[in-house]
């Protein structure tokens, strides 16, 4: 029961906070407000030109390993109740991802310039 209550309250709170700004904020635009904020001076380039690919690669790898770390939290919660089998399971899980990490490193994904 409390789980439902928690989801209800926090869900409602999230919705209210997000919609309050959309609902209450006055909408008055002018041509300057549409332009990107570049410390007040006129932008030197209009539009965004192509980015080097290595940024996308780093972003993807970060996402991968960040989600990996995210799975530690539920594992930590049930750590006590698993009585001893927790560590080998985590080791297996990490080994798989470490292999991926070593592969990326060898392929040169992390060499920057």
């Amino acid at each position: 029961m409390t789980l439902a209550l928690v989801f209800l309250v926090f869900g409602a709170l999230g919705v209210v906070l997000l919609s309050m700004n959309a609902l209450l904020g006055p909408k008055r635009t002018n041509p300057t407000k549409e332009k990107p904020f570049e410390c007040g001076s006129p932008p030197l380039q209009d539009g965004i030109n192509p980015f080097p690919i290595k940024f996308y690669l780093v972003a993807l790898l970060f996402l991968l390993f960040d989600v990996e770390v995210a799975f530690f939290f539920p594992w930590a919660l049930v750590f006590k109740s698993m009585k001893g089998t927790a560590l080998p399971i985590l080791a297996a899980y990490l080994a798989v991802l470490a292999a991926g990490f070593a592969y990326a490193w060898k392929k040169g994904a992390f060499s920057w310039d």
Binding site: E38, C39, S41, L44, N49, P50
Partner: protein, 441 residues
């Protein structure tokens, strides 16, 4: 209008404005960066966003009421600008300033120098993320400003140091305030040293970044803490001792590698030297303190009394007129009638004082230095702060030019950040202590 950078930029690089209204650019510098990812290929620094027409305005002001403009040049250490300007005019006039006034000027200059370094390093630390160091240093600066405010009446823009001496004698219990300020600053310096000196993040952001070689620094005309961080020990207080600096013992700290961290370290050490100087001025000021007997007449009674006969007893000034009291006058103002306003008591009670007062402040009659030109430099917060005055004998300067130390330091910014990352621009610029008023004049 396409700037030089846009013309030279490669088509595939990203052009970014680190513009005037940026927290780390002190609001007045625009750096246009040509980026390849995070690395800076080329940059163009645009200044002039705080050009306030100082030199042109000073040509339309008399020598005396020009002081308010010199306060606002390097507004982080305002009293040092005043000392520079006033000593340049005194050199032009050939005026001798009494001993006590010189000691007060040294005390005020050093208080200003410590608050300059405190503000500069506070901003540099905060821009690298160390917000605690910023709050600690601002707290220390408050104590120093209390001392300045107690004597001069204002915290920052004081116009306290006048041609021929200083406006008022030190406050009655200035010594306690100075000691408290020095102790608090020492405590804060110890805390910040503990926070930043061996802090891995701060070291990675500043060690061996924006390294400046001594020859390059000389070629850019660098002076002050930035030049000393490259290893050259040039300090105007030691090179051409002015005021009573030759009777004070203090060292000139010197860095070895000339990178951001050395500029930070030289300023930290310089603060300790300045605190040492402040402590050395206290006994000298104590020795030359005049004995002022209490009691006297209020100005209103004195004026009534002076109508019948000259009042014998001293005129006690109301608190806000305290300052140019006759008794302390010989200690704080030169005796030359032509260039120094008479004390307030004379202006109230004697006709000669009144005439002298008006002659001094009326247009066309005030202070008129002889025809000629002079260059005088003092050790400002950022380096050699030089005034070049040209006088044509009238009561307004014909030409007043300021040699701003941070003008030359910021001129090297383009070269220092080429090839570095965007994140290195912030500590490099922070360690230069760019002050808009002194750079753009």
């Amino acid at each position: 209008m396409t700037t030089r950078l846009q013309a030279q930029a490669r088509p595939d690089s990203l052009l970014l404005n680190m513009g005037p209204s940026h927290p780390a650019m002190h609001g007045t510098i625009r750096i246009m960066l040509e980026l390849d990812g995070e690395r800076i290929l080329n940059s163009e620094v645009e200044v002039g966003y705080l050009h306030r027409g100082f030199e042109k305005t000073c040509e339309h002001r008399t020598w005396f009421n020009l002081l308010i403009y010199t306060d606002r040049l390097n507004y982080v250490s305002p009293l040092i600008n005043n000392v520079g300007y006033v000593m340049a005019v005194e050199k032009l006039l050939g005026l001798e300033v009494p001993e006590r006034a010189q000691w007060i000027r040294v005390l005020m200059s050093e208080l200003s120098r410590v608050s300059d370094h405190l503000t500069c390093l506070a901003a540099m630390a905060m821009e690298c993320g160390a917000f605690t160091a910023f709050l600690y240093k601002m707290k220390a600066r408050e104590f120093l400003w209390d001392v300045i405010e107690q004597t001069t009446g204002a915290r920052m823009t004081t116009s306290y140091i006048r041609i021929g001496g200083v406006r008022a004698d030190l406050h009655a219990d200035y010594e306690a305030a100075v000691r408290k300020g020095v102790d608090e600053t020492r405590k804060v310096l110890k805390d910040v040293r503990g926070l930043l000196d061996k802090n891995k993040i701060f070291l990675n952001r500043t060690r061996d970044i924006a390294v400046m070689t001594p020859e390059n620094a000389i070629s850019y005309g660098w002076t002050g803490p930035c030049l000393r961080s490259t290893g050259i020990a040039y300090d105007v207080r030691k090179a051409q001792p002015y005021l009573t600096y030759d009777r004070l013992n203090f060292e000139v700290p010197v860095g070895e590698r000339g990178d951001n961290f050395d500029r930070y370290m030289v300023r930290m050490k310089e603060m300790e030297q300045s605190l040492r100087i402040i402590e050395q001025t206290l006994p000298a000021l104590q020795a030359s303190a005049p004995t002022v007997e209490a009691g006297g007449l209020e100005p209103a009674e004195a004026i009534r009394a002076s109508r019948t006969r000259r009042p014998e007893s001293r005129v006690r000034l109301s608190p806000n007129l305290e300052g140019s009291e006759k008794a302390v006058y010989p200690g704080i103002m030169a005796a030359d009638k032509r260039s120094v306003p008479p004390p307030k008591e004379d202006a109230y009670t004697t006709i000669e004082g009144l005439i002298g007062h008006f002659k001094h402040f009326m247009k066309g009659h005030g202070l008129r230095p002889p025809k000629g030109e002079v260059y005088f430099a003092v050790e400002g917060g950022n380096g050699e702060l030089g005034y070049y005055l040209v006088s044509d004998g009238s009561d307004r300067p014909y030409r007043l030019h300021l040699r701003g130390p941070c003008f030359h330091i910021v001129a090297a910014l383009e070269e220092l950040i080429r090839g570095r990352y965007v994140a290195d621009v912030i500590p490099t610029f922070g360690s230069m202590n760019m002050i808009g008023g002194e750079l753009d004049r």
